[in-house]
Amino acid sequence: MQIASMHFKARAHDKLGDAQLQRNLSKIKGKFVNKRRSAIEELDDFEATREAARAIRQRVLDDLDVWLEIFEANARARGATVLWAATPDDVNKLVLEIAFRHGAKRIVKSKSMVSEESALDLAIEGAGLEVVETDLGEYILQINGYEPPSHLVGPALHKSKEEVSQLFHRKHGTPRKEGIDELCREARAVLREKYLTADIGISGGNFFVAESGSVVLVTNEGNATLCTTLPKVHVAISGIEKVVPTLEDVATLMRLLPRSATGQSISNYVDVLTGTKGEGEHHGAEHMYFILIDGGRTGVLASDVAEALRCIRCGACMNHCPVYQAIGGQAYGWVYPGPIGSILTPMYAGLENAHDLPQASTMCNQCGVVCPVKIPLPDLQRKLRDRAFAEELRPWQERTALRAWAWVAHRPRLYAALSKLGVRILRLGADRHRMIRRLPFGRGWTAGRDMPAPAGRTFRELYAARRARGDRR
């Protein structure tokens, strides 16, 4: 996917002014935040489960190469083929090779964020094959000219029912439907035909289980089950960090993933797919491929933000982020939005292409306290800020201002003299309500807010005067 994260501010500006988007975003709290809160209250000990989940994911990262080799051996033993992709382009090449090998014409796909990294759908279409997204949200985006996703779990979260209704009417040439049920039925009818005639089914992978060589898919629509069992060929694509040691570990993580994501105690479907269809078995693909992508992940693993790889893609960080809630996911300009995206995007696509993202956070740490695998997101954002500062990626005005402030703050006498002068000058700029309406060097503030004026004397001046009077009250 083309990265547009350097236009973050301009995109955020557009999104803030998009009335329909703002109405859709305002539903996040009811849909996700409140439901999650109720769902975790059901757990006997959320914090203990969270710590266990953190430990499982960290154990994987500590010996990632070993767990991947175990996974590979067990998957092969069950008849699957394990392929490794160093880059997003390699993912596309491998998928097309598989498609040509099996003479495929039509490919159905269930949700895979990783495939967005490589714009896989465009590569498939470019090779003259048909690809159909079957996750309802992804389908909506696909038929709307491959609109970028705005959320990990609900990629079309920014769309209203009315917008979808209009889109279906236009693209399917059917009469306009009003109700959500009717719209779902229409999509289902279109998609059912595709499943039955597809040559290949592509899925993502929530977890790859090392001990059994299985892939675990967590969905609500049942589309992944159809994608992975009806066509003769199943290709599961995900990042190398998605491996977990055991099925027992999956059980622990599943106590948190649906709860954190959608506030469900369990998702509607959990598929555990192991190996190809054996003799006498009725279900399963005849050919099973796993494509595991690096795509910058080993670089993250070796960096000081490696903890970000614990992510299980629940989306809770963005659901709870006040910045995300205000601007939505598309403003972030790449595959992964919100707090986790502010780490992954610069790491996968280059900090120089996305250095606004780690800055676009108030560091309120609402994300950190809800993350089910305890990724310290603001701390990781700060590490990327360190790097951006050291590599001089930030605007010179910002760097100079930070340095000047620190330089003065390190010299108390100068600081006292300059602040004494500064507060008097600022005080002069205040109106009769003691508000400064416009700051020449602080337009970012005063464009939308007044600045309450300083009192006109610093604390240290007043305190010194009080001490001189001998007033020790």
């Binding site: 006040p322 205000a326 560091m363 930070l402 970012g444 503030w445 939308g448 009192a455």
Partner: protein
Amino acid sequence: MAPRPRMRVGLFVTCLVDLMRPSIGFAALKLLERPDVEVVVPPSQTCCGQPAYNGGDRENAIALARKLVAEFEGFDAIVAPSGSCAGMVRTHYVELLGDDPAWRVRAEALAAKTWELTQFLADVLDVDTVPGRFDGTVTYHDSCAGLRELGVKAQPRALLDKVAGLKLVEMPECETCCGFGGTFSVKFGEISTRLADDKCRHVETAGADAVVAGDLGCMLNIEGRLRRRGHASTQVLHVAEVLAGERS
């Protein structure tokens, strides 16, 4: 029970309070000064280094952190009328200064005795009366660092409950960020303003006479947006000002 030995407390006024609203510093002094507590205001104090720390200028952040450690490590406790600045010392200095073993030890020692003002009043001094009086309703905004770094939640409410005449009404989403975020408020002014606007709507829903907070950064942001919205009536006060009855 034997009387508690006199405690020497260093007041970290914070740079924002020093520059913008000294009344908060004097209110903190008034609340802290009692027969068993000696309050000292080290004159060379400036800034805890948070702008540099969060801006990626680690070198300067370390320099300012070391300066503050040296200024305050001699006291029995360091108290700041700010969850953000107290949180900086308490939860970030060890990481920031930790590469040098000698400084790590000093940072750990200081972190362990650093308190946000209401935390110190309620949890350490165990105060049962406060001098302030406020005839009206207030709503309390939980600032992010105070709440999520230090666990400041019950203390300001318990203390406000002791203010004669005061009635506390909660606003919706009192724990949601106001959008200040230090330099974020200028770098991403438009988003910051939007978050402040959401906060103002919640303040208005509560319909209190004053919105009270423990951090001047949040206060400037909330008051700035309230006034720009044309909302002139709701006062924006620091919890220390209300508790001490000392206002700007």
